[in-house]
């Protein structure tokens, strides 16, 4: 398990996270939601080791995070960035192959190539393999980056569980690509018993694919619960400062559906 225990993060005098405790279990998909500036990215950057918590502790598979060797960590934990600024003309295959670099000493080049092809196939990007990465569209790049991160934690790491941290994986994507990425992730979590934490903006997407949803507000974790538990109108209204109604999905009655209200034109309500 990936466990954050009472972590607080500060930059200067600004408090980014306040005593957040969170557990990510193998095989589950945990969506992190919250308004802009709530500390979602700070949470992900702390879990991925980019930010060090001011207080509190982080442990992965039963050992405190600083106790893990970086190479070992890379085999257990993949991190998908919001966007990647790769300016050099690498082929898509080479980009995905870079995900295999933690395994370059334990696997032959051919084994790594085979896994690369499989990851490309899983993310539906095999047809792009020979293309130059910089010529791809935003949606294609995001899927290629996902393939790279999946290739990185492709195979079981002994007895150790694997985790995937996704920073707004759907932000730049159209409807079909948003669902494709989350479906791929969901399938990987199920089949590989991998814990997935994804920052999402769309609460309905979160409700459709996540096992649990964590709501962050102003650096604090308000609640972590199933979609049914989290998506109630008063909570959402309180956190996002916006009126909504909650219905249920016409195809999946168990899945709640968030329906935002129309905002009154500015100034009219004041009169």
């Amino acid at each position: 398990m990936l466990i954050a225990d009472q972590i607080s993060v500060q930059i200067g005098s600004k408090s980014l996270l306040k005593q957040v405790s969170l557990t990510l279990c193998p095989g589950e998909v945990l969506a992190v939601v919250g308004p802009n500036g709530a500390g979602k990215s700070s949470l992900l950057r702390t879990l991925s080791g980019e930010l060090s918590p001011h207080s509190g502790s982080l442990s992965l598979n039963g050992r405190l995070l600083p106790g893990w060797d970086a190479g070992q960590l890379a085999k257990m934990r993949g991190v998908l960035p919001q966007s990647s600024a790769l300016a050099f003309r690498f082929s898509v295959r080479d980009v995905v192959l870079m995900g295999r670099s933690p395994h370059r000493k334990t696997h032959s080049h051919n084994q790594n190539l085979v896994i690369t092809e499989q990851a490309l196939a899983l993310t539906d990007t095999a047809h792009l393999a020979g293309r130059i990465y910089t010529t791809l569209s935003g949606g294609e790049r995001q899927r290629v980056q996902l393939a790279r991160v999946l290739a990185q934690i492709w195979e079981p790491c002994g007895e150790l569980q694997r985790y995937l941290l996704l920073d707004e994986p759907t932000s730049a994507l159209d409807l079909a690509h948003q669902h494709a990425v989350l479906a791929i992730t969901r399938r990987f979590a199920d089949s590989q018993n991998t814990g997935v934490l994804a920052i999402l903006h769309d609460l309905n997407l979160a409700a459709l694919y996540a096992d649990r949803i964590a709501v962050l507000h102003d650096g604090s974790l308000i609640v972590t619960d199933t979609p049914q538990g989290v998506l109630n109108s008063s909570l959402i209204q309180q956190v996002f400062q916006y009126p909504v109604s909650i219905g249920s999905h016409p195809l999946y009655p168990a899945c709640p559906l968030l329906i935002p209200h129309r905002q009154a034109p500015p100034g009219i309500s004041a009169r």
């Binding site: 080791g49 960035p81 990647s84 600024a85 790769l86 050099f88 082929s91 670099s101």
Partner: protein
């Protein structure tokens, strides 16, 4: 591709060893080399040929290979570190620091450094240049280092500022220099492999070889760095140590090269570019390829430097510049067209 470069380089070595103002046939060249290893061959050669080959051309060739390779590999590594194909080893202040120290030695030799000059003889200039290069790049590094991480953007800006400062200090020294000193440092700044003997090779080879051997071993982490620093960290690479190591190795290689041969431009910038067109941006091929092509380019430039105006010699910086600049312009032009 790499194999081809190897073959081309070996062939060029033989040709360059044998060719020059003093005539030595390839057979004689081999015979002289064999003789120096203790095998006597039937091939006749003169004492003069032997001296020229062993005492002048051979050390020059060896240092040329090491310097050319080091400059090009360092350029490729810097471009990877800055994630910018226009980055150059000069960015972190090595060349300007070395130049400042060299000019200081040339101008103040008889006043400030007279004691050192007696002690070190004509090693004073290279030793001072290495120290100057290191000091300035260390300063740039410290300015960009915020304690726990090295900020590449700050490194670039600190480099520009410190380069300008070192440039002004150099200008001031140039201003107070006399005619003789001015001419000496003008020639120094154009670079030359002239006067390279086995002593310079021994002085520089350990540093240059370290740069040439270790930087290509950093191909995987350098590739990962191109994805972004955070991404490289997530792939398990010790990013902070890596950045420090790259800066240190580049400073070591380029500092030594500048100290021994003056400022030889364009190899660090142009060779990695050319290689990217030929083998792509993957550092696993780019770094060893740059080493080979850099060595080859410097070898050919030096051959031209010592034969074009024979028996006089053209500064090698002029030749690499003449070969390099048009290519660089073509590259920019081509990028512009491809961009539209």
């Amino acid at each position: 591709m790499l194999l081809g470069l190897w073959l081309l380089l070996s062939l060029s070595c033989l040709l360059v060893l044998g060719n020059g103002v003093v005539n030595i046939s390839p057979g004689q060249a081999l015979a002289i080399l064999a003789d120096s290893l203790g095998w006597h061959t039937a091939w006749p050669f003169s004492h003069e040929q032997q001296t020229v080959l062993l005492a002048i051309r051979a050390p020059r060739l060896v240092l040329g290979l090491l310097v050319g390779g080091s400059l090009a590999v360092s350029g490729a590594a810097m471009q990877g570190l800055f994630r910018n194909p226009l980055a150059d080893p000069a960015l972190i202040g090595i060349s300007s620091g070395a130049a400042l120290a060299a000019v200081a030695v040339i101008v103040l030799q008889n006043t400030l450094f007279s004691g050192l000059a007696v002690l070190l003889g004509h090693y004073l200039l290279p030793v001072a240049a290495i120290c100057g290069g290191f000091t300035v790049s260390w300063l740039v590094y410290r300015l960009a280092d915020s304690g726990d991480r090295l900020d590449i953007g700050s490194l670039l800006l600190a480099g520009i500022a410190i380069n300008a400062l070192a440039g002004s200090a150099t200008g001031l020294l140039v201003y107070i220099s006399n005619d003789d000193q001015l001419r000496t440092l003008t020639f120094w700044s154009m670079g030359s492999l002239s006067g390279v003997g086995w002593d310079s090779v021994l002085l520089g080879a350990p540093f240059l070889a370290l740069n040439l051997i270790v930087l290509p071993l950093l191909a995987y982490p350098l590739n990962a760095l191109l994805l972004g620093e955070a991404e490289a960290g997530h792939l398990g690479f010790p990013v902070e140590r890596l950045k420090t190591a790259i800066v240190a190795l580049v400073a070591l290689g380029v500092g030594t090269a500048v100290a021994l041969t003056g400022i030889i431009g364009f190899i660090g910038l142009v060779v990695p570019h050319l290689l990217r067109l030929l083998v792509g941006p993957d550092h696993r091929w780019l770094l060893p390829g740059s080493a080979l092509l850099g060595a080859l380019l410097l070898l050919c430039s030096d051959y031209l430097a010592r034969t074009l105006a024979a028996p006089a010699e053209v500064p090698i910086g002029i030749i690499t510049g003449v070969l390099g600049s048009p290519f660089f312009l073509w590259l920019l032009f081509r990028q512009k067209i491809m961009g539209h």
